[in-house]
């Protein structure tokens, strides 16, 4: 079976797993990916939401704080950011929008409006994680949760559809709606734009790529420098020189296109 079909099956499987709450299965685990526990069918807790609960307004609940963090530690140590590429439902959504972002007209638009600081924009996700998830919640109260576009997509919209007329917007609804619209524009204009620039969970998992058991291995001495792998990479990585890049989501697209077949998944050090 082709790698990308296996990946699609894996993403579909995790999407179903994330929605087992529809069958009244509500666990006390945290999702290893981005999904909102406000979703009517949620089967686990949002890891970011759990962190926010743990540090909310200076109340430090260490058990609750460490619970998602060490869980991500285990997952990250084994799989690295493969979770983003193989399990995350938001990754699946971006997989669907990725072909649109690759159309010539869309590429023209995104290149025209891309700011010159774009190469540095990938650090925004780390700022989001530290500032919006930890610090703001600790010192002020919810911030990320109130404006989270993933919460809007997987929580707000399904609830509004399933319970038409039974809910009323709160004071953050409009801001969250605007951010959600930007989120949609982002993932259409920039393939994997959310993962690359904004996802706080991507930021949490990214450092594990440096030490994870599963990683991409390249026999660089046999490389033809055709650059097909880098062109195929949805995260915009210079693949032959990536050396366990924190940005790599282990989607395997580079493996598929390499004419020399020198790019492989490897387990170990």
């Amino acid at each position: 079976m082709r790698l990308q079909i296996k990946r699609l099956l894996s993403q579909t499987f995790f999407l179903i797993l994330a929605n087992l709450g529809a069958f009244k299965i509500k666990t006390g685990f945290c999702y290893p990916f981005f999904y909102c526990h406000g979703c009517p069918a949620a089967s686990a807790g949002c890891p970011l939401g759990t962190i926010e609960h743990a540090v909310y307004k200076g109340k430090l609940d260490w058990n609750l704080l460490l619970y998602p963090l060490v869980f991500f530690g285990v997952i990250g140590m084994v799989f690295g950011r493969a979770i983003c590429g193989w399990a995350c439902p938001i990754g699946l959504l971006q997989r669907i929008t990725y072909p649109i972002s690759q159309r010539k007209t869309i590429k023209k638009i995104s290149q025209r409006f891309a700011p010159s600081i774009l190469p540095y924009a990938r650090y925004i996700k780390y700022v989001n994680l530290v500032l919006l998830v930890f610090l703001t919640t600790y010192f002020i109260g919810f911030m990320f949760t109130d404006i989270c576009p993933v919460g809007f997509l997987t929580g707000t919209i399904p609830i509004l559809i399933l319970n038409f007329g039974e809910f009323t917007p709160n004071q953050f609804f409009l801001v969250a709606l605007i951010i959600f619209v930007f989120f949609i524009i982002l993932i259409i204009l920039s393939g994997r734009g959310w993962c690359k620039y904004f996802c706080p969970l991507g930021a949490l998992l990214a450092p594990f790529n440096k030490v994870s058991l599963l990683h991409i291995d390249i026999e660089t001495d046999k490389c033809l420098h055709c650059n097909l792998c880098s062109d195929a990479c949805p995260m915009g990585i210079d693949v032959p020189n990536m050396n366990r890049s924190p940005e790599c989501i282990l989607c395997g697209k580079c493996i598929d296109v390499c004419p020399q077949k020198i790019i492989k998944f490897k387990v170990g050090s």
Binding site: K26, G45, G165
Partner: protein, 215 residues
């Protein structure tokens, strides 16, 4: 290579054992399951449930009224106020509730306070679902008329009502700012609800026969 392997082994053992400890030796799993996953996070969905504050006799999950509620109901009207630790709307409504009961704040995880409205005792039972026993946690489901679509803050006013020739405990449940745009407006709705509950109590409590009624 060997150095990386050592780092990998050490980190995997550290993370796995820490997670194992949190999972098996603490109640963190149950805590996440019973509050974060099971109580709808209204901040997450940026919405508030619209509820019409009307009194009913049948509980949300068909369980009987809890004993601690009936016990307090014998002395007057009961206002149950549920919240969780991390809840923005609760933080905004807490001072409103506190001011209705002449309190400076509601920082306790569990608080029972009685105040008088129009000559009738009204007992506020403030419950932080993250820190109370199972009995009190279960009471949330008894009055959570919206089930999975409910959330916190949740208010349930319990009084006596007249149902087909019998006086029974009756309750009305509301959420968030009680359908209003601001906490201050929510406070006014809560005050009106308490006054309505007090009137119903005055009209009906003498006809209540406890043995006839636990549901």
């Amino acid at each position: 290579m060997k150095k990386l392997l050592v780092v990998q082994i050490v980190l995997i053992i550290t993370f796995s054992s820490s997670f194992g400890y949190l999972f098996f030796a603490t109640d963190t799993y149950e805590h996440v399951q019973s509050t974060i996953v099971s109580v709808l996070c209204l901040s997450c969905i940026k919405l508030e449930p619209k509820t019409v504050l009307s009194f009913s006799f049948e509980t949300a999950n068909n369980e009987p009224f809890p004993d601690f509620v009936l016990e307090n109901l014998s002395k007057g009207v009961v206002l149950l106020h549920y919240r969780t630790d991390a809840c923005a709307a609760c933080d905004q409504m807490d001072p409103m509730v506190a001011s209705l009961f002449n309190l400076t704040s509601l920082e306790e995880n569990y608080l029972v306070v009685t105040s008088r409205f129009n000559g009738v005792n009204v007992t506020l039972i403030h419950i932080n679902l993250d820190h109370v026993n199972e009995n009190l946690k279960r009471s949330y489901k008894v009055y959570n008329i919206l089930g999975d679509n409910g959330g916190v803050p949740m208010f349930s006013l319990i009084t006596f009502g007249y149902d087909r020739g019998t006086v029974k405990p009756a309750y009305a449940t509301g959420y968030g700012f009680l359908g209003e745009k601001t906490p201050m407006q929510g406070k006014e709705v809560l005050k009106q609800l308490i006054e309505e509950g007090v009137d119903m109590y005055i009209q009906n409590h003498q006809g209540y026969i406890p043995s006839h009624n636990t549901e």
